[in-house]
Amino acid sequence: MTAIDSALQPAHDTAHGHHAKPSGIGRWLFATNHKDIGSLYLWFAFSMFIFGGVLALCIRAELFRPGLQFWQPELFNQFTTLHGLIMVFGAIMPAFTGLANWMLPLMIGAPDMAFARMNNWSFWLLPPAALLLLLSFAVPGGAAAAGWTLYAPLSTQMGMGMDLTIFAIHIMGVSSIMGSINIIVTILNLRAPGMTMMKMPMFAWASLITAYLIIAVMPVLAGVVTMVLTDRHFGTHFFNAAGGGDPVLYQHIFWFFGHPEVYIMALPAFGIVSHIIPTFSRKPLFGYTSMVYATSSIAILSFMVWAHHMFTTGMPATAQLFFMYATMLIAVPTGVKVFNWIGTMWQGSMSFETPMLFAIGFICLFTVGGLSGVTLSIAAIDIQLQDTYYVVAHFHYVLVAGALFSLFAAVYYWFPKMTGRMYSEFWGKFHFWWSLLWFNVTFFPMHFLGLAGMPRRIPDYNMQFTDFNTMASVGAFCFGLGQLIFFANMLHSLRHGRPAAAKPWEGADTLEWQIATPAPYHSFVEAPDLEVGENGRIDAMHGGKHH
């Protein structure tokens, strides 16, 4: 029997010759392996994070003290615009897609993503889009400077930098829609036997719901920037009052995309934290079913609240009240989630490795951001705070301390599985405490600036705002510096880290920890038979083949 097996082995290998690990640049250019594509996404997202971060530091350098120091206002506006666009579409979204690519097939026992070649496409559309944004700094009139929201009539008037931006958004939209289709088909069709929907890990649930959100709203963004494009070049007047259009229409369509987009950047973070908190509390996730329903209701509610970004556009009071209450309603499922995470930690046997630190940091700071969000949802208060630094503080608490911290947590958490090596725990913890400190030094004073009335997106400000701005700028530079520690830690550990065990975390119980470390290049070529508990807990695994 054994003789026959070994005799058949070479033939088997040749028959599947195209499954061998490719080498050289072709491995990446023509990548169809979900792990390779996941890595590409993550590297791309990190380089965009650095690029967007440099833009942020350009902003903070200018705002270090009042007056114009480094940049003219036009260039400053380009920095704020591109910082926003790059962080949202270049860093956060691709990073989550990258993690989904890497981890989903491992978590649900699939051999790869459903459409491997489309996966290659959805990644390789991103670098050209990023290049267009980068190039737009060099064209006459400079890059887009209308803010990341690209409000008309600003966006209908600017130079060709805006055209490049619109085209880049189209490309990134196509990329994220293709990525999302892949995620949905993989989750719905490729789960291993036994991995039922209501047993699936939370990260899979969050990715699934996020993917649906992306498919529902990215086309709306594509539609509205297309209208801007036709207004600019083909004589239409969607947003031009001179032709009977209405600039407020732009805001309605944009925020119909824009608010779900907020949750596109938040839900995967919820999913990640729902893995890390149970792992390091050594307890199953508290209230798994309610987590699934809370995530779904957040997604549904996100379509009904868009006009809370527009309280000052002159809406009828009835509409203001509707959007105000609908927005406050979102705090309920979000509160359920925070409650469940705390419930998971309650009486848990907790340990505080780097991923756990980032996850707890996430819960604390995301809640601060959520709270300032509830403040902003009150129409009467929002009219005061609209377009002030309070808003800037709010969304950086949910996006930096929320989305970004969860991404750090995820990278530290899965780094051993991805690379087969451990990162340096000391520098990981240092990175966390350093980021936590300087993040708050940067963004907490912005609440006070906003309450005192400092408007956002300005290169110069009144003397009274100097102290808090100086603080924020110092914080921002230190925060930025800290990310180099992360980079160095990752780079060093990739080659010299100590070899990781198959299951480096005692409390980890999802499927990806059941296979060898680093994850075999072709995992689960034959689906395993699973006995699964809630949140993807593997009780028993039979079969399942890798090579």
Partner: protein
């Protein structure tokens, strides 16, 4: 007990459905334009370009403090209009019929159609200026170089709050392209 594993066909079918969803949402974005228009009509937003009805109760029974009215007009850069209010300011008692004239010139050498959009300062004053006739209710056609005079007839609602003692009525004239 387990459902059979998905085939390539199943995957492609789901792919098509999701692509269709993306296309539907793209069309939905454009569909929001008529929806927005209908909602504005329904809720009465953007109702500044319709004649008001003035019932007798809107007319003052007793003399109220006069309101200082200022008339103004602006033209967007690059458009061919010259607009001039023939009366700059006047004082009117709420309930009194007021008529002022505007002179509009088409300074270009082509036929153009214009649409005037009124604005009020303070914006809250809009609901107290009851326009009975206004050139802004319709699009106006102009021959090359033609000058026309238009009346604006309105009543200041007698329910105007006491603190509102000065109202500016300003028009902006826009081109209506694609028509001649």
């Amino acid at each position: 007990m387990n459902k059979p594993p998905a085939t390539l066909h199943d995957n492609r079918l789901l792919l098509l459905k999701l692509l269709l969803l993306a296309c539907v949402m793209f069309v939905f974005a454009w569909g929001l334009i008529p929806v927005y228009d209908a909602l504005c009509r329904l809720t009465g937003l953007g109702s500044l370009q319709r004649p008001d009805e003035v019932g007798s109760q809107r007319l003052a029974a007793t003399p109220l403090a006069p309101v200082l009215l200022t008339f103004d007009a602006t033209v967007q850069p690059g458009l061919p209009w010259q607009v001039r209010p023939l009366t700059r300011t006047l004082r009117a008692v709420p309930g009194e019929f007021v008529r002022v004239d505007y002179e509009i010139t088409n300074a270009s050498n082509r036929q153009v159609i214009g649409q005037a959009i009124p604005r009020y300062l303070p914006a809250a004053a809009a609901e107290y200026v009851k326009k009975l006739d206004c050139f802004c209710f319709a699009q106006q056609a102009f021959e090359p170089g033609q000058t026309k005079r238009f009346p604006v007839v309105f009543v200041i609602d007698k329910n105007v709050p006491a603190g509102l003692d000065s109202i500016t009525l300003a028009y902006t004239i826009f081109d209506v392209p694609g028509r001649s």
